[in-house]
């Protein structure tokens, strides 16, 4: 649905790599062009009309984001370059100062590198411990397994809301409730979740949330860090510079601005912020009810067609979102991707930055199809036709 809104779809391309990044609607592109063409002044700086308009658009996006995730305060919305930067800020700016040796952080083996490596870094720097919540036979996180993983040393649970290989939705509300009863903070990596399902940080009582604009119809290079205001007050800025300081006369007398500006040093990605605002408007207009029902219908359609194919091994038959990861018997995932590429079908092959998931799933690499609402049943028919013919894959993969 809504295919006419996406200029890239006018090309003869079947785009099935939406977990990597989504396509951009014309409205987002136009909005950013409008900024560069008609009012490309700096933000927070000028005393003239153009700059005033920049500030207004910029802060309107903050308001849009706040309402989109149902945060309580505008100061809780920090613009970053993406989920990766948001997670690094949370971990290095807040938790590096809070955690001590032998404190435990719970993650899972299906996390993205950006929610693993910054924690690994604290293992070597602070002597904290990273532990894994076991996954069940469908690679899901169950509340029971979270319960069993908590020890008196557990201080943080840091997990994706939806993972990027399996596509399972984690029971966030139950997890935060359990965590908070045990004085544990909860960090949610929302990179795959925010584009696909509504997320309410207040109702779910989430302490920190990270997500990227480019996976939700917005531009690259923009993301969001949400944190409860009382926690963000203690997040030490990792970047110091213009825009974020109140005054500085000497090293002893540096005064920083209040939130959120304090955490947005330097000239921000203004076009990115404004483009993100337009993407959120687009998602709001369409509504998650429609997005979800289309995604589920597409996934079910694809799954039903792939399941009878004996040479295809689906890793995540169970999944709550629009991702299917699979392998073709005895064919390396990259060769499958190259084969499909010959027919202008874009899929991702590899470990999808979840390098330690292999210890749970037992396969290193997969072909990943990730759908979004603008994909169609005809596209799936085309894909399945190409995948049904094993001999053709072998013949044409090189």
């Amino acid at each position: 649905m809504n295919r006419d809104d996406f200029p890239l779809l006018k090309q003869d391309i079947i785009y099935l790599d939406n977990s990597a990044t989504s396509l951009k609607p014309q409205t987002v592109i136009d909005k950013m062009n409008d900024y560069y063409t008609n009012y490309s002044a700096n933000a927070h700086r000028g005393d003239y009309d153009l700059s005033f308009k920049v500030d207004k658009e910029y802060e309107e996006t903050r308001e849009l984001v706040k309402n989109f995730i149902n945060a309580q305060h505008l100061e809780e919305i920090i613009f970053t370059s993406g989920a990766t930067e948001s997670l690094n800020m949370i971990i290095n700016g807040f938790f590096a100062n809070y955690l001590e040796a032998n404190d435990e952080v719970l993650i899972t083996t299906s996390e993205h590198a950006s929610n693993i490596l910054p924690w690994f870094n604290l293992v070597s720097e602070l002597g904290i411990k990273v532990k894994y919540i076991p996954l069940d036979s469908n690679y899901y996180v169950t509340l029971d397994n979270v319960k069993k993983s908590i020890t008196p040393h557990t201080k943080v649970i840091s997990i994706a809301g939806i993972t990027n290989v399996i596509g399972d939705i984690r029971p966030i509300k139950e997890i935060t409730k359990l965590a908070h009863e045990n004085n544990i903070f909860v960090v949610i990596d929302g990179a795959q979740m925010v584009p696909h399902v509504p997320i309410d940080v207040t109702d779910n009582d989430i302490d920190f949330l990270a997500f990227s604009g480019h996976k939700m119809l917005g531009p690259t290079g923009i993301g969001v860090l949400y944190g409860k205001i009382e926690l963000l007050e203690h997040l030490k800025p990792q970047k110091l510079g213009g825009g974020m300081n109140e005054s500085f006369d000497s090293p002893e007398e540096v005064y920083l601005k209040p939130l959120p500006t304090r955490l947005e040093a330097g000239t921000p990605n203004i076009a990115g912020v404004i483009g993100l605002g337009e993407a959120i408007k687009y998602l709001n207009n369409l509504g998650f009810a429609k997005i979800s029902s289309q995604e589920h219908a597409l996934r079910k359609y694809l799954l039903d067609k792939l399941l009878p194919l004996k040479h295809i091994d689906i890793i995540n038959i169970e999944s709550d979102s629009a991702i299917i990861a699979f392998n073709v018997n005895n064919i390396f995932s990259q060769d499958v991707a190259y084969y499909l590429n010959k027919y202008n079908i874009c899929v991702r092959a590899g470990n999808h930055c979840a390098k330690i998931l292999k210890s749970s799933v037992g396969v290193t690499n997969t072909v990943r199809i990730s759908l979004y609402f603008y994909n169609t049943f005809e596209e799936i028919d085309n894909l399945v036709e190409l995948l049904s013919d094993y001999d053709k894959i072998v013949k044409e993969m090189i």
Partner: protein, 141 residues
């Protein structure tokens, strides 16, 4: 070399690669070679005897192009001197860049003579050669 022959060479070397095995012998030099942009990841084991490459084996996961190219490299470079191997490797690079190269020298390596047209597969074909080149240069230090 016609397209069918190229195909056959690649498929034969992919399905039955030479010396795909783990080597636990301290006389072998081990080097890892991988593609940052994709998931090909091979360990190559080389036995040097002074200037001569006495043996090469490999293990790991990679696509059909990388595996077959490794097998072809092994078939053509065992028994060669380091300098002969480097010459072969450089001619192979010239071919994959679409430049002039010594066709006769590369033998089965010509199976990849069109790969320069497929930017994203070029790095697959050169993967084992980059590994061997690095190993030779390290040995020569």
């Amino acid at each position: 070399m016609d397209e069918n022959t190229k195909r056959e060479i690649i498929m034969e070397n992919y399905t039955h690669p030479t010396n795909r095995k783990r080597v636990d012998n301290p006389n072998y030099f081990k080097i890892n070679t991988n593609n940052a942009s994709c998931i090909d990841n091979l360990d190559i084991y080389i036995k040097f005897n002074h200037n001569i490459i006495e043996d090469i084996a490999f293990e790991g996961e990679a696509c059909a192009i990388s595996i077959s190219a490794t097998s072809i490299m092994i078939n053509n470079l065992i028994g060669k001197t380091k300098d002969e191997a480097l010459t072969y490797i450089h001619e192979f690079y010239h071919m994959t860049e679409g430049e002039e190269y010594n066709e006769e020298l590369l033998k089965e390596g010509n199976a990849y003579s069109n790969i320069y047209k497929q930017g994203n597969r070029k790095t697959c074909a050169t993967l084992p050669f980059r590994g061997l080149e690095k190993a030779i240069l390290e040995q020569n230090k």
